[in-house]
């Protein structure tokens, strides 16, 4: 592919001294090692070449070479290439340049590692606590490997999070954690002047459950998908798929085509129910409860369908490394066809009923406006970006599972407001129905749904996989570990970048619009706060019989 060469040459030419090595895992993934001093320049150069910032991954490598690693990842949407920029700093002086001043979206990632790994980023505009609780003591960095997963440090004395300075003459409206707008505990401090929003500070990560340390000695590769599903109760399969793909990429595992089709179907079913859910919640947020009730009524058969296929309404538990757990039989296919047929019909009615409703237009048009340039600068993803005329979609740009064979449109609107996100989601639901139909038609009839893992997954391989969740791009980064478990697993949910763009969207809007604007990104705070960074330190607990049991369990089918 010419793209990858171009990038490689560009980096090598511009930063001869800084670039240590360039590794191409496959035509769509490249890993670049650089020296930490030049990280900001190289990042800027990558962005200048058309790279879109995804997420940063920090990891504890002290046991091996006494360093803390940092990986900035970028995506080249036109070429379909993901690039990971790897660097490291010594543990004794864990300081590197912040890339946030140029790439604002990196702000949270870097703050996260200030908390969790004790890294320092010089030049960070807002080096405040992000993830850990207010009363968490200083100097305890739970992602370091010498801290046990169940450490409960005593509360620090007299600490309270210092909210940002309130603009002159404004007062703070505290939104959350328990506010009917937010179904999850997150705190927005909204600075209002009259009823106009003049700024906002976010103190979230209250659903941060710190699963990485849990996984340190507890779980193996194939249990992680189940935990991954519980990152978020709505887009569970997305996380499981993304994780599995990352591990499969890192380990070089090839799964059967049929399994890929089933994964695609599950992902699209999830998209339908998520978008319908969002439509309802959006209606609820603007006080239109009938839309809420009706779209949830339409959604309900999808939940029943999921229950029939997988045995549970939302945490499907379908996807594991190597394929899927349950097959989709022919009766099930008919079942799916029926259900999506009804939904298409009913959704069409809903669409007609609300598309021309001027009352809804009033509440959504021109609300939450941000320009296309800002959207790109802040690396917003998913429907939020597509509603702001940024044409990105992982399914098309970086095809995975069976999407390379699917024909579908990516809706893009340019009114840059909440109404456009409504439209994007409506159209996407229809597209999802289209994709499921294609999948059902094209699905190969034979082939195992779960591929045999005959060889152990090699250690210290890096894998990066992205999946287009209903909310946008989910990125999973996995570093494989030695004992049947990942060493580092980083999840970036779509809400993570989008939430950072919310203050921008809120600016100069009315207070009454705050719920729908926050709602318009379809926030999933639990995704954002997940930190499901599996960090398996080669627990001594893995035993020989495990592999046998694994096999026993597979042979059952």
């Amino acid at each position: 592919m010419p793209g990858i060469e171009e990038i490689k040459n560009g980096l090598k030419k511009g930063f001869k001294d800084a670039v240590v090595s360039v590794e191409e895992q496959n035509p769509t993934r490249m890993f670049v090692d650089i020296k930490s001093a030049k990280v900001r320049d190289v990042s800027n150069a990558i962005v200048a070449m058309g790279g879109r910032y995804l997420v940063s991954v920090g990891y504890d490598n002290i046991a091996r070479d006494g360093t803390l690693g940092m990986i900035h990842t970028f995506g080249f949407d036109r070429d379909g290439i993901y690039l990971a920029l790897r660097t490291s700093v010594p543990e004794s002086k864990p300081e590197m340049d912040s890339i946030t001043p140029d790439i604002p979206n990196a702000g949270w990632s870097e703050r996260e590692y200030m908390d969790l790994l004790g890294m320092r980023f010089s030049g960070h505009p807002k080096p405040k606590r992000l993830v850990l609780a207010d009363d968490w003591p200083e100097g305890v960095h739970p992602l370091r490997k010498d801290i046990p997963w169940n450490l409960m440090p005593p509360a620090a004395e007299d600490v309270a999070y210092q909210l940002d300075e309130c603009p002159e003459g404004c007062s703070i409206v505290p939104l959350g954690p328990y506010h009917p707008t937010l179904h999850e505990p997150e705190h927005f401090a909204i600075y209002v002047d009259g009823e106009t929003v003049k700024g906002c500070d976010y103190r979230g990560f209250m659903t941060h459950r710190g699963i990485e340390k849990l996984c340190q000695t507890q779980l193996t590769y194939n249990e992680v998908p189940f935990v991954a599903e519980r990152i978020c109760g709505i887009c569970g399969s997305v996380h499981a798929t993304s994780y599995s793909q990352a591990v499969e990429l890192a380990g070089g595992i090839k799964i059967s085509r049929r399994a890929e089709y089933i994964r695609t179907i599950m992902l699209e079913i999830e998209r339908i129910h998520s978008h319908l859910l969002w439509l309802g919640v959006a209606g609820h947020l603007i006080g239109f409860d009938t839309v809420f009730m009706q779209s949830w009524r339409i959604r309900e058969p999808v939940m029943w369908l999921g229950e029939r296929i997988t045995g549970n309404r939302k945490t499907y538990g379908m996807i594991v490394i190597g394929g899927v757990r349950r097959d989709i039989t022919d009766e099930m296919k008919d079942d799916i066809r029926n259900v999506i047929g009804t939904i298409e019909k009913e959704l069409l009615t809903v669409q007609k009923a609300i598309q021309g409703d001027t009352a809804i237009h009033r509440r959504t048009r021109g609300v939450g406006y941000i320009s296309t340039d800002d959207t790109k600068l802040w690396s917003l993803v998913g429907p939020v970006a597509r509603a702001r005329n940024v044409d990105i979609d992982v399914r098309r740009d970086y095809p995975y599972a069976a999407y390379d064979e699917m024909k579908f449109d990516v809706p893009v609107f340019d009114s840059n407001d909440v109404w456009a996100t409504v439209l994007v989601r409506l159209v996407e639901t229809f597209e999802a129905i289209k994709i499921i139909r294609q999948c059902l038609d094209k699905m190969p009839n034979d082939g195992p749904v779960l591929t045999e893992l005959d060889a152990p997954i090699p250690a210290l391989k890096h894998g990066l996989a992205a999946v287009e969740a209903p909310r946008g791009e989910v990125v999973h980064y996995v570093i494989t570990g030695e004992k049947n478990a990942p060493e580092r697993w980083r999840v970036r949910a779509p809400t993570y970048p989008n939430l950072q763009g919310v203050p921008l969207m809120l600016l100069n809007n009315q207070l009454a619009d705050v719920p729908i604007i926050i709602g318009s990104i379809d926030p999933c705070f639990s995704c954002t706060d997940r930190m499901e960074v599996v960090d398996l330190r080669s627990g001594a607990a893995k035993i020989a019989s495990q592999v046998e049991l694994e096999e026993l369990s597979r042979n059952k089918r």
Binding site: L163, C166, G169, C170, S171, I172, V173, P174, L175, G176, P177, Y178, H179, P185, H187, A189, V192, D193, G194, E195, T196, R203
Partner: protein
């Protein structure tokens, strides 16, 4: 009865005497205060007795009285007696309030205050009793203006206060010029009585009377703070003066302008064959000015973030009601139809009633905000809040005054507003614009309510004084509570027994000779169409339905009380226990200074809609 004029001069002499004597002992602040109060009280008592005599016993004709080297016409009829009563009442109350309150200004000497206070009162008493527009008027006006100028610039070390006071002085002198010019333009010479001015106007014709009336309206309009003149000086002057003075300025002084307008347009009207006074024109004009004033003034008041500025702007709004009433009355009295004439007279009663009400509750409100200033040291609403538990009596008083000024039944503002609004509405079947004006007045009374919800809410309820005020807040001493409680009682009385005031006011008008309306009051048998009873007032207008409008605060109060008992029983019936809990702000933040609600946010949508009304908001 002629000795009443002597009494008047005596009272004025006592006031003068006080102005000379008290400053000498001004170092002993309390003593000076007491002395001043005693002087003012004695003078006030004399004035009150005069006003009682002229209201209830008999009005006097105008009379030339020699004051020193000058001969000045004085007039003591029921109408001026009414104003004299208000002035002396408020002067006494303010003087009593000053005793304690002036402790607040520890670093300012009280010499100038006690020198100016009695003369200020004297000036006001003069304005409403002199019967000319030249010599006597000028003396009284200057006495009132210059002393009030010094009172306003009491805190003379602050630049902006001196600046505002200067502006006040210049504008008041301008107003004086207008009036004197008007009098001279009519051809009268210095010292002529109003009666002769009237005669002179009657002999002229063409455009000149329009000029004269226009100048008079302009001059008194300046004083009465009619839009747009009021906005130029009133909010600044009233908000910076010491609170008892603010109470006098807002409660009484601007009423002298109203007095002037009523006197000029109802008394200074010649009835000759050659001259036809176009009452409809002037009525409509004044009513329009009034409606604009009441609307703009009140809306601007809603935007203020300082308690005293809010009250000052609200004074403009309330004066707007009065001016509107005068205009409407003037219009209707000069109309052909008997029903309209009747309505006009009743509106006039409402006007006078509202003057009384406003003097009482606005004085009360200024005293209240003075008390708050005294104990918290601030008049910024954004720094106040939650005083209801710290200053319960003041809070109660402020609540009553706020309800009264908003016109909530059965408080005093309701009856006067009811009279003004209902007359203009009833006139509606014949005169459309009066209905519209009435509706604007109704609308504005809701805005007034908003102002006072804001004033009361942000000062006494809600929370904030604990952060905004850097000291312990305590209830003010009894010396400041007593005047307020006295005014509160008066205020409640005015709301609950409107019939008494109606009767009195009708009596005043009927008894004050020399104008068309006193005849009309007698001829049309107003007394007979206003059904007064212990329960309230109802108005029946010939030509309209039998009983056209009713205000019966007492019955409503009884029904309300009965309902309240039922409701209280309902509340207790579940045996619910009470527990005090912290404010729920979604859990993460506790209530603190940063997230309290600020005045900017209050009614933001409405303020945005009405942004064009302006209003000089000062932090």
């Amino acid at each position: 009865m002629s000795d009443l004029y002597g009494k008047l001069i005596l009272a004025m002499a006592i006031l003068l005497c006080s102005a000379v004597v008290v400053p000498f002992i001004a170092e002993k602040r309390k003593l000076a205060g007491w002395l001043n109060f005693i002087f003012v009280a004695v003078a006030g008592a004399i004035l009150l007795s005069i006003s009682y005599s002229v209201i209830f016993v008999k009005s006097l004709p105008s009379r030339l009285v020699s004051v020193g080297p000058l001969d000045i016409y004085f007039l003591l009829d029921g109408f001026s007696g009414f104003f004299l009563g208000i002035i002396s009442l408020m002067a006494i109350v303010s003087a009593f309030y000053s005793i304690e309150y002036m402790e607040h200004y520890g670093d300012y000497g009280l010499r100038s205050y006690y020198a100016n206070y009695p003369i200020f009162v004297l000036g006001m008493a003069g304005i409403v009793t002199v019967d000319d527009l030249t010599t006597g008027f000028s003396i009284a006006w200057q006495a009132m203006t210059i002393t009030s100028y010094f009172l306003v610039r009491f805190e003379h070390r602050k630049k902006e206060i001196v600046k505002a006071a200067n502006k006040y002085l210049v504008l008041m002198e301008l107003a004086w010029l207008f009036i004197v010019i008007a009098a001279l333009a009519a051809g009268s010479s210095m010292g002529d009585s109003v009666h002769s001015v009237t005669r002179l106007i009657g002999e002229t014709g063409g455009a000149l009377p329009y000029l004269i009336y226009g100048l008079v309206f302009l001059g008194f309009g300046f004083k009465a703070a009619v839009f747009p003149f009021g906005q130029m000086w009133l909010p600044d002057a009233h908000s910076i003066a010491p609170s008892p003075i603010s109470a006098l300025l807002s409660g009484v002084m601007i009423k002298t302008g109203v007095y002037g307008i009523i006197r000029s347009f109802f008394w200074m009207v010649p009835h000759s064959d050659t001259f036809h006074f176009s009452g409809a024109f002037w009525g409509a004009l004044i009513a329009s000015f009034g409606v604009v004033t009441l609307f703009i003034g009140t809306v601007q008041s809603m935007k203020q973030s300082q308690s005293k500025r809010l009250l000052a702007y609200s004074s403009i709004g309330q004066v707007g009601y009065i001016i509107f009433g005068i205009g409407a009355a003037l219009f209707m009295v000069n109309a052909e139809s008997a029903a309209l004439k009747m309505l006009g007279l009743i509106a006039l009663v409402g006007v006078v009633y509202h003057i009384l009400n406003h003097a009482v509750f606005k004085g009360l409100l200024f005293l209240t905000s003075g008390s708050v200033l005294y104990s918290t040291g601030t008049k910024d609403l954004n720094r106040l809040g939650g005083l209801i538990n710290l200053m319960p009596v003041t809070a109660f008083v402020a609540g009553i005054a706020s309800l009264s000024i908003s016109g909530v039944p059965p408080f005093s503002g309701f009856v006067s507003k009811w009279t003004l609004v209902s007359t203009s509405l009833l006139a509606g079947s014949e005169v459309l614009f009066l209905v519209i004006f009435g509706i604007v007045a109704l609308f504005t009374s809701a805005v007034t309510l908003a102002c006072y919800v804001k004033f009361f809410g942000m000062t006494f309820t809600s929370a904030g004084a604990e952060w905004g005020v850097g000291r312990e807040v305590r209830e003010v001493p009894a010396g400041m509570l007593i005047p307020k409680l006295f005014l509160t009682a008066l205020c409640l009385l005015q709301g609950l027994i409107p019939f008494f005031y109606f009767q009195t006011i009708i009596g005043i008008f009927a008894g004050s000779g020399g104008s068309l309306i006193s005849a009309a009051f007698r001829n049309l048998n107003v007394q007979g169409h206003v059904f007064n009873s212990a329960m309230g007032v109802s108005v029946g207008i010939p030509g309209l339905s039998a009983v056209s409008s009713i205000a019966v605060p007492a019955v409503l109060l009884a029904v309300f009380a009965a309902a309240f008992v039922v409701v209280a029983f309902l509340r207790k019936s579940g045996g619910s226990k009470e527990r005090e809990v912290p404010t729920w702000l979604c859990g993460y933040q506790d209530l603190h200074d940063k997230n309290r609600y600020r005045d900017k946010s209050m009614f933001a949508a409405l303020k945005n809609l009405l942004y064009w009304t302006g209003g000089n908001v000062k932090e």
